[in-house]
């Protein structure tokens, strides 16, 4: 039977990794790290998890070692955040391009300069196009569950792509939440052992990572794109199976109080939990608003988004990252481009807020909804607005 315990979300991820019985964890402790890998190291040191723990000398090497261990067919995990994710940037493309199903938890945090250790989505947005499957968690349980799902999705033969599970730095990584922790045998029912189809093996030599001249490179990229798109079916299937075993179900996006709502707020990550209470509050006051919690960031759920907003007049999107000199936040850009081709589409209003750990309270979201509705009515000469920022 699953136990429900109060635990720091980072530490619960270490338990999920143990339950997944990973073979290799490679991680660097700074730039910055969380309790995730500290706890994994402890589990290995105590013999509770039989795995190789590689305390590498940088995040670049952390992800590089993950490539090596995944290529021999070992179930592989790492965690990082912020500058660390940037340092492993070029290696991320290799993991997806070479079909190595590494699973990584990313504690989303701001980027320097100025130095900030606090949460936002600046780090992950530069990793948006790396070809990884990316899932955003809104709370501790979602994080825990999706780390387990990530292994199953990544290692499925139809997928064989790396997966990032995003959890907001501090707002999730450093809070204690009640989380259901399943038993190992329940996890074993859901998560089959990892069988990499063609691992590095002297008895069956393969060449991995050949170079691609112009006569083949575009085809490899097309195949990768099609593969990532097709992974959505497996993601949905895994979530359904997960619901069957554990009773908690996940969708690419979750609609909260969206029935009949003409105004929809859209957020990704832990802030969507606060936004829920703002929606409740505004609804109590008589305004029909709803909330879309975006969970699957890559592959992007175009159809689900179009369907979710089809009856709305206004969609207000909160981004926790800034595309400097661009059209606003990356999430807002995606939503706009997903809806642009529709004959009837809602107005999309973009806000960028919550940067570098700046909190947005329930009242903040209430203000955001009001301001968003106003902008939709009057129009604005700005592409987006910075929310909760002093002039």
């Amino acid at each position: 039977m699953a136990r429900r315990i109060g635990i720091e979300v980072s530490r619960s991820i270490a338990i999920a990794v143990k339950l997944a019985n990973v073979d290799v964890v490679s991680a660097y402790p700074i730039t910055p790290q969380t309790h995730i890998v500290e706890d994994i190291a402890e589990l290995v040191a105590n013999g509770e998890l039989e795995a190789s723990f590689i305390p590498v000398e940088s995040e670049h090497s952390a992800m590089s070692a993950c490539l090596g261990s995944s290529a021999v067919g070992a179930r592989t995990f790492t965690a990082t955040a912020s500058q660390g994710l940037e340092l492993m940037h070029e290696v991320l493309y290799v993991a997806s391009g070479m079909r190595l199903p590494v699973v990584m938890a990313v504690a989303n945090r701001a980027l320097s300069a100025p130095l900030s250790i606090w949460g936002d989505h600046s780090d992950v947005m530069s990793a948006r196009d790396t070809g990884w499957i990316q899932i955003f968690a809104a709370n501790g349980q979602e994080t825990f569950d999706n780390v387990l799902c990530a292994f199953r999705i990544a290692e499925d033969r139809r997928v064989l792509l790396p997966v990032m599970v995003h959890l907001d730095g501090f707002h999730l990584t450093h809070v204690i939440e009640p989380i259901y922790i399943p038993e190992a045998d329940e996890v074993a029912k859901f998560l089959p052992p990892f069988e990499y189809p063609l691992p590095l093996d002297p008895d069956k030599p393969v060449s991995m990572g050949a170079f691609g001249p112009p006569n083949i490179y575009p085809e490899t990229k097309k195949a990768q794109q099609e593969n990532l798109i097709a992974s959505k079916e497996v993601i949905l299937e895994s979530w359904r199976e997960f619901a069957g075993v554990f009773g908690r179900s996940y969708e690419p996006l979750e609609c909260y109080q969206c029935q009949g709502a003409k105004v929809l707020l859209l957020a990704m990550g832990s802030f969507s939990e606060t936004a829920m209470s703002a929606v409740d509050y505004v609804r109590e006051k008589g305004d029909e608003v709803g909330l879309i919690k975006l969970r699957l960031w890559r592959p992007f759920p175009f159809d689900e988004i179009r369907n979710a907003v089809k009856d709305a007049d206004v969609v207000i999107v909160l981004d926790r990252a800034l595309s400097f000199g661009g059209p606003g936040g990356p999430v807002c850009s995606e939503i706009r481009s997903a809806l642009y081709g529709l004959d009837k589409r809602p107005k999309v209003v973009g806000f960028v807020g919550g940067l570098g750990g700046r909190d947005i309270s329930r009242d903040g979201f209430v203000d955001m909804i009001r301001r968003g509705v106003e902008i939709a009515r009057t129009g604005s000469d700005q592409e987006f607005e910075m929310f909760g920022v002093r002039e």
């Binding site: 000398e57 940088s58 090497s61 070692a65 070992a74 290799v94 990572g209």
Partner: protein, 313 residues
């Protein structure tokens, strides 16, 4: 050497794990060194290549020269990828998912991928004590991308980013001492080698993979394209690099130095320089300066080897 020629086919496997048909330049010393290393490795090995000449010439999709399991990912991370391969195999063997047998894990990179951009990853892998062999095939510049200088380019050589000119002699820094740097990690085995001495090279590769723990080999690889020399002189120039003391071949086994070829007298460096266009511009004064340093360093190396021998006895 002549008396051995009859026996050579019996001494060395005919099996080519680094298959012919690759696209290395004519006279490539590195391709020869890789070929010899692969012969020494035998069947049970996994090769991790860094980006560079050998990766590019051996793996244009859909062709491959590798008959050993082989992986290439990036430029600076061969040591880290090899760390992952080793740790992954170890974990799988422990859990009974792979048969327990000795597999030589060998990272291969050029001088740029080792002494410049990959030095940190290499240091990390050596310090952590992974059971792997890292081989640096040193052709003394970024040859794959057009002969740009690296920290392994020798003093006085002309390259495209440190060209000899009216006010410059080309490279103005001395070659980074990779063997000393890696030996400073207190690893069980460090060796230098040259494909002009094939048996020495193969013996060292075998020893390096069979010794538990990290091992490092530094192999000089004559590059006719970048060194501006005739491609039929590769073996000769390799020998001259050793015989002049410019690239001495030796081992550091458990901290003890041992000369593989202990020369009583060195040939003048000029013998080596005059066959290569990259040194053509050097004045007599510069050559003398280099000669002094080479002689001094060779003497120092011999001293270390003598000291190790003395301690042993």
């Amino acid at each position: 050497m002549e008396k051995y020629s009859v026996f050579v086919p019996k001494l060395v496997t005919r099996k080519e794990s680094f298959a012919p048909g690759h696209r290395a330049c004519v006279g490539c010393g590195e391709a020869l060194a890789v070929r010899l290393a692969c012969k020494a490795l035998g069947h049970d090995a996994i090769v991790v290549s860094a980006t560079g000449c050998m990766e590019v010439v051996s793996s244009p999709f859909p062709e491959t020269s590798w008959r050993l399991p082989w992986i290439h990912t990036l430029f600076e991370n061969a040591a880290a990828v090899a760390s992952g391969v080793e740790s992954g195999l170890k974990a799988l063997v422990k859990k009974g998912k792979r048969p327990d047998r000795e597999i030589g894990i060998v990272a291969m990179a050029g001088d740029g991928g080792t002494s410049d951009i990959g030095l940190q990853a290499l240091s990390g892998a050596l310090e952590r004590g992974h059971d792997l062999l890292y081989i640096c095939f040193d052709n003394e510049a970024y040859m794959n991308t057009g002969i740009q200088r690296s920290s392994a380019t020798p003093f006085g050589a002309s390259t495209t980013t440190a060209p000899a000119g009216k006010v410059s002699i080309g490279q103005v820094t001395w070659k980074k001492n990779l063997a000393a740097i890696t030996a400073a990690h207190d690893i069980p085995y460090v060796a230098t080698a040259c494909p002009s001495y094939p048996f020495d090279l193969m013996t060292k590769v075998k020893k390096a993979v069979s010794k538990p723990g990290p091992a490092f080999m530094h192999i000089i690889s004559v590059c006719p394209t970048g060194w501006r020399c005739a491609p039929d002189l590769t073996i000769k120039i390799g020998r001259l690099a050793v015989e002049t003391g410019i690239f001495p071949i030796y081992e550091i086994e458990d901290g003890e130095y041992k000369m593989s070829l202990d020369l009583a007298e060195l040939r003048p460096v000029q013998d080596y320089f005059k066959l290569q266009g990259r040194f053509r511009h050097l004045s007599e004064e510069m050559i003398k300066r280099i000669q002094d340093r080479v002689s001094k360093e060779y003497a120092r190396l011999k001293e270390k080897a003598a000291c190790s021998q003395k301690q042993k006895s």
